[in-house]
Symmetry: C2
Subunit: 587 residues, 2 copies
């Protein structure tokens, strides 16, 4: 179960698919350059391969346990986490003013992919810490920030998000947890929260919980929810740890995957909390970090897919079975055309989904740091447009690819000891959490596409046209015919589909939301690979021909799927609403 981080692929996309020069031109990144990024990627690869990857299987086989009021983490996790904190990986892209290294998040998309691939269950802990720190940074008052942020940024303490309740999941409006003003600047929080990732553990000394709760006079629904900070252990003004707060884990979920990540039922019994942000504005405070969190779930999908791919590749090179066509002796199964096709398919799909994630991350960097306000604005539009696609397509790709990974292992894939099954199980959470992929599709079509009359999507289509021009130029030196053909067709497909979605009524648009998201993703994933090839050729990158092989395969196997989705959009919503509900049970 060795893992080798795909550093070259990540770096190639970073250099040639993403507008990295534009990102690095921002004043905030004056000290960052490609060489530094390359070194960081190498360091992350080394860390992921040697420190985290060996703990992955152990976490799966030895889930966290609840011992009284305390969660005991999986064996090896504390050491792996401490090493992560020591190496300062956590704060790579955190703002320097709160102690981070301030690198672009597109670099973090690369390093974090490696960490998730190495140990996704453990990787969730710093992910949530980052998100919580970001929310505190954006919304908490200076006292709270001073007390909690530095130790969260350096990872000494971790963060947790207490949002979900049994009746409040995808829709947080019905949150019932109560917050009563204690009259001393604190609130008493009472209620039960479920699905709290890393809600308790023993790998850090304190856990800073952000809790959604309702003040007594709050309006009903989502506009009456406030955000509170509840530390597991109280911190005095000198920063010393004191008594434990009055909330605790009362159960751990028995999950399909990510066993090493403790998913807690948390009980708040008049726990002491501090208000973060304005009263009743809790949901919008949480949404501050939603783009980032969703992007990184897409990255997780790619990461698990990559790990599954590598396991399958190793197995296919080792397992001798049968005689391949035109062969004279039995050979490893990679010699069988169908196995080989499956491996290339996995790799091409991962590369495409990865390119979408990186484009999203880079847009996020420019949205915050570009000097030009118009660029910031356009990049923000791009980031928010791509985020649901990155989350959904990345996570679905992870599931699909890890399923192929099991398949390549044959019977061995179904036996847990092989490890292939773990990826299949682990990957399945990514399409669900941080907003199900159905919600991503609704977000794409409702908020991102239709609300601005398709402006953001039109800008993206313009970029696809520019990539087509670039590819035509590159075709003089590199065979890009298959890519050009697929991209030309894909652009028309995206245009037609976008028109359909812009002109549909709300119900019809929502019925087509997921097919539309996948249609756009099938095309832009290929386009972003083609862009990488074209730019790589211009730059004389020695690995360009390798990326070209991937892009050509993608153009033949993935991009054409967009047409099937278009076919559905042409008549599909009608098919959904015409289907009688009472016929769902049997005929």
């Amino acid at each position: 179960m060795t893992f080798t981080a795909p550093k070259n692929t990540i770096e190639f996309l970073l250099n040639h698919s993403v507008d990295i020069d534009e990102v690095l031109a921002a004043p905030a990144f004056a000290d960052t350059n490609r060489d530094l990024i390359s070194d960081i990627l190498s360091g992350a690869a080394d860390f992921a391969e040697n420190v985290w990857a060996p703990t992955n299987w152990s976490g799966d086989q030895n889930p966290a346990t609840l011992d009284g009021d305390d969660v005991k983490s999986s064996p090896g996790f504390k050491g792996a986490y401490d090493a992560f904190v020591d190496a300062a990986w956590l704060s790579l892209a955190t703002a320097p003013e709160i102690g981070g290294m301030g690198l672009p998040q597109v670099v973090k998309a690369g390093t974090d992919e490696m960490f998730y691939a190495a140990n996704m269950a453990l990787g969730l802990c710093p992910m949530l810490t980052s998100s919580a720190a970001k929310a505190i940074h954006a919304h908490a008052n200076d006292d709270v920030k001073a007390k909690y942020l530095p130790k969260m940024v350096n990872g000494e303490w971790t963060g947790a998000m207490c949002l979900t309740e049994p009746q409040a999941g995808s829709d947080l409006g019905p949150v019932r947890t109560k917050a009563i003003d204690n009259g001393d600047g604190t609130y008493a929080i009472s209620g039960q929260k479920i699905y709290i990732t890393w809600g308790d553990h023993d790998i850090a000394d304190n856990i800073i919980h952000l809790v959604l709760a309702r003040l007594p006079d709050a309006p009903e629904g989502s506009k009456g929810i406030s955000l509170f900070l509840c530390p597991k252990v109280f911190v005095d003004d000198a920063g010393n740890l004191g008594e434990r707060n009055s909330f605790k884990p009362i159960g751990l979920e028995h999950k399909l995957g990510i066993h090493g990540s403790p998913t807690c039922v948390m009980e708040f019994n008049k726990a002491t909390g501090w208000l973060v942000g304005e009263p009743n504005r809790g949901l919008s405070c949480m949404f501050t970090m939603m783009n980032e969190a969703r992007l990184f779930v897409g990255v997780q999908g790619v990461a698990i897919g990559e790990r599954a791919y590598q396991a399958a590749l190793i197995y296919a090179n080792e397992r001798v079975q049968g005689r391949a066509i035109n062969a004279e002796a039995d050979a490893p199964i990679i010699a069988h055309p169908d196995v080989r096709r499956n491996l290339i398919d996995m790799k091409a799909r991962l590369a495409g989904a990865r390119a979408i994630c990186m484009a999203t991350a880079a847009a996020g960097d420019l949205a915050v740091h570009a000097e030009d306000e118009d660029v910031r604005k356009a990049s923000h539009t791009r980031e928010t447009l791509l985020t649901p696609i990155a989350k959904s397509y990345g996570s679905d790709t992870g599931v699909d690819v890890s399923s192929i990974g099991v398949q390549i292992h044959g019977g061995m894939g179904f036996v847990e000891e092989t490890g292939a099954a773990q990826h299949y199980r682990d990957s399945r959470i990514a399409p669900i959490y941080e907003g199900t992929n159905g919600i991503q599709a609704m977000d794409l079509v409702g908020r991102k596409l239709r609300r601005d009359g398709g402006e953001g999507m039109k800008a993206l289509i313009d970029d696809l046209e520019a990539i087509l021009i670039l590819a035509n130029k590159t075709n003089e030196t590199l065979d890009m015919n298959a890519c050009i053909h697929a991209l030309k067709n894909g652009i028309e497909t995206v245009k037609t589909a976008t028109d359909i979605m812009l002109n549909a009524d709300d119900a019809n648009a929502l019925a087509g939301a997921t097919p539309y998201l996948n249609l756009v993703a099938d095309v832009i994933s290929g386009a972003f690979l083609i862009k990488a090839v074209a730019n790589g050729a211009l730059a004389g990158d020695a690995l360009t021909e390798n990326m070209a092989s991937l892009a050509r395969y993608h153009a033949l196997s993935v991009m054409p799927r967009a047409d099937a989705h278009l076919n559905f959009l042409r008549g599909g919503a009608k098919a959904v609403f015409d289907f009688p509900m009472d016929q769902l049970a049997d005929l």
Copy 2:
């Protein structure tokens, strides 16, 4: 976790998609009619829902265990199995001359789907017993038949297949287990077999193993393998059970799914066996029942998909979350267009895959029982052509649909207690065993398509054309426009793809094998639903409009995917072989 067998859907397909009148016209089925079949399906539904379905979760949570030399089955399994034997479900389609009821196997495809959906892990035991009995019936001598067959046919004893060894899986050529002639009509079998489904258990008094082994003077490879019968417990001439034979389970696999099915490592230590069939012809004896076994694995995929679908449907009707478009109050999530689309998608894909399985089963019935020799021959060709498609497409559909099932459950789907995850885990074996789906695709393209120059496929295309004519007629009374459009296009796609595959060289044909299989399946699954609608309309079946809704959805969402596969076939093999092997690791 209740289960309601989809009796109406199965019966509708049986009556209108399959040529059931032609099947029932065979002399062997003189006593069978549609009413009897309907009663049998109702009885099976009742049994599946009330006797087997309640044991499914318990089997998952309490896998079989190895206790010394004996496997202890999951709680409740013995009672469920005994009831199955008492109700004589096992021998529904077994030949009357060996004690079976002699019904068409297309009926068994319907009943067994219900049983697999109710408890797939348990269903594997009678499945293997049937297959073993069939092999014994076809190849063993009269003494062996008389001693073992009756009690296997009635299910008093079960059967197991000992094929795989660590180095011999998809390719059985390297089997090393040895058989030494004892000089008394018996052989001493020694070696280790792995992945032996229901290789040991305590739900029946005896287990009849069919074991592949090599005689001392046998040629190397697959032409030197013989088949032996090894009873777990010896049987004297009066039929009494005696001593235990010298083989035993020495380990149980820790698997991703079907936990209730004990997957044994079996050690044969000079076990006593009887030769079945000719020496060195063991593999061809095993292949006697390969078509049947593969078809029923396809049925398993549909079955698990159906169970996952039903769980999702129940959850979507119960779980209130968020306000759907145009709604005035929060409602169950089925009101959200995307959830609704997912449910219809699951149902349409299951119906299409089921129709392929039933067409395969009916062809098998006609291949054996049709009066006319030409019909028998043509039906045999059809059965062998459809079998790899049924196996692969049915099992892949099971995985895809059960993954959507988890998704519809949201976070609850990832928690094992909900049960949705079990289907996702269980379904994953079906694309692997009885020949991986990659092997099915090679079989389709190599043996079934190219060996006869495409004759069998041309006959299938002729049938698709006939369905198109039928659909055009039906269009006068029922809106079939979407179906006709998709079918017309689909037929052209199949024709073009078939020409490509017939004209490709071997390596290229194999590289396109899986996309070609899926292309054909996407089209014929829809065509078989359209046929059902058209015939249902002609017959005035009251459920026709319901099936029409499914067929229309399928025509918009599934059939068009064939074009994406065609796109791959047009340039795909080149993309596979042009892809440099050394670039698979990283760029």
